[in-house]
Amino acid sequence: MRLPKKYIPLSMAAGIKKALALACCLSLLCSCSNKGNLSVIVAGSTSVQPYAEILAEEFAILYPGSEIDVQGGGSSAGIQAAETRTADIGMSSRHLKESEEAVLHSFEIAKDGLAMIVHPDNPLDNLSLDDVRAIYAQEATLWSDMGGNGHKIHLITREEGSGTRSAFEELVMGTSVISPKAIVQDSNGAVKQLVSNDRNSIGFISLGLVDGTVKALKLDGSAPSIENVLNGTYNLHRPFIFVTSDEPQGEAKEFIDFVMGQHGQELLAKEGLIPPEKGD
């Protein structure tokens, strides 16, 4: 029969208890004392998020000590977060609904083209908007329907609530519905990765993210490019919007001013985004 020695376990147990009690108190203290923390939270569209992160990084260099936190979540979540003030600035990659426009201040920070992408080996270079609509409604299911090989088309779309998806639905699908059999991915990067690996797939992503791993299709003969968006021949584009529920103040205002100013706009242009329409 072994009984543990009396004092060591007691002191150990007491020590653990004390440490835990201390940790609890500390955590409570920290949370209370820092509730008024001044960091600016920017949340919303995962399409805008990478650009916002780059902007926040540059902003932190220009304004040392500034605290900008960039979060994902999605356009609708971002708009709602701004409404409920969970976030100081919401990010959206779709047009605001009228009900949202009525209660929010919005700042269009850039325009972004939507590119229809396929595998680089796909022989097609051009589709009409009607073709794209037929493909996504699964009225056309084989590449041969479009003049390609006889394989089945693997549709890739974004999830419900994504700004990219609602822009695509608005600009391409109209009253048609994206087939429920389409594969759903939850980010631009995931769509791009899939398309770059699957010869028979088609998807849509931010124009700014198109690179050599995928092929961006012309639409009705017009190549997806910044010039064609600006001269109005390539119509698949949507705005990137910052929203706030109050007139922005303090650091949030400084950040928005920075983004809308020359420096921020140059950064965005360098990343492949298109300048917003003036006078917004």
Binding site: G72, G73, G74, S75, S76, A77, Q80, H154, E159, E160, G161, S162, V177, S179, P180, K181, A182, I183, V184, Q185, D186, A190, Q193, L194, N197, D198, N200, S201
Partner: protein
């Protein structure tokens, strides 16, 4: 003084127990309260057996996702359970010490790896080979089942092994003394005796597979349609919440909580069954 400190300690423990149970009850009640209204509004039958999920148009049918969860999980069980049980038998009865010493820590380590790493691994190795050799988009029930099968292996192996090792050694000695060979001993004495533990292991593994989210988001394709073959993409109940939670507001959010309720019930039933079987020795 002693009795005072006794009372105090009793009170402290009671308070801790009370806070635990209120936390656990809070979660359950919260999820029910958030999700129940939409089920009541749509009707349970239409919600569970509805075929169309178009939350922005107000259509909430989760049947394709139930089929998705069930098919991916059954696939995982078919692939993972026999192999897992074989491994457990191997570890308990056959393994040379060296292999056992590599095997056990490897399983421990794998049980701790984030599920996203498995999903990523599947995306790199499993998905392309399914696409190239079997056809389809690659993101499919099959790919999900393979990844889930690997993920449930640690659970199935360790619980089965424990239940085999827990058997009295007299069982095995008796069987061998009767002239049964090693395989006969295992198949006719050890496995039947460890049956309840093994079934519990399988059910817990299935619970893990149904509950997995991030890995299956990456390899299952997430299409909300009834699959026609194991090469078709599906969406599970968990991925439905994982993908859309960030976006959801209003009725859409309630519908995701309702999806959570359905998951809750499924897991509850599985666990209760596992406990019942494990205790009925």
């Amino acid at each position: 003084m002693n009795s005072n400190s006794e009372k105090l300690s009793h009170a402290v423990f009671f308070a801790l127990a009370l806070s635990s149970i209120s936390a656990l009850v809070l979660i359950t009640v919260f999820i029910l309260v958030q999700g129940a209204p939409i089920i009541a509004e749509i009707g349970l039958f239409k919600f569970v057996f509805g075929m169309t999920w178009a939350p922005l148009k107000g259509e909430f049918g989760i049947f394709p996702m139930i089929v998705g969860s069930v098919s991916a999980t059954i696939g995982a069980a078919i692939l993972g359970v026999p192999i897992g049980i074989c491994c457990a038998i191997f570890l308990a009865e056959f393994a040379p010490p060296l292999m056992r010493n590599i095997f056990r820590p490897a399983i421990q380590l794998l049980a701790g790896i984030p599920s996203v790493v498995y999903g990523f691994w599947g995306l790199i190795f499993i998905v392309p080979s399914i696409r190239d050799h079997l056809g389809g988009p690659g993101l499919s029930i099959l790919a999900g089942s393979i990844i889930l099968a690997i993920m449930i292996l640690p659970t199935v192996i360790s619980i089965t092994e424990v239940s085999i090792l827990a058997l009295p050694s007299s069982y095995k000695e008796g069987a061998l003394a009767l002239g049964l060979n090693r395989w006969q001993t295992i198949s006719s004495v050890i496995l039947p005796a460890a049956k309840s533990g093994i079934i519990a292991a399988v059910i817990l593994g299935i619970g893990r597979a149904i509950g997995e989210t991030m890995a299956v988001i990456m390899v299952l394709g997430n299409a909300v349609a009834l699959p026609e073959s194991v090469l078709d993409p599906v969406r599970t109940l968990t991925t439905n919440i994982g993908i859309e939670m960030g976006y959801a507001v209003g009725a859409h959010r309630q519908a995701l909580f309702a999806t959570g309720i359905v998951l809750f019930v499924i897991i509850m039933v599985l666990n209760t069954t596992a406990q019942y079987i494990a205790r009925r020795k």
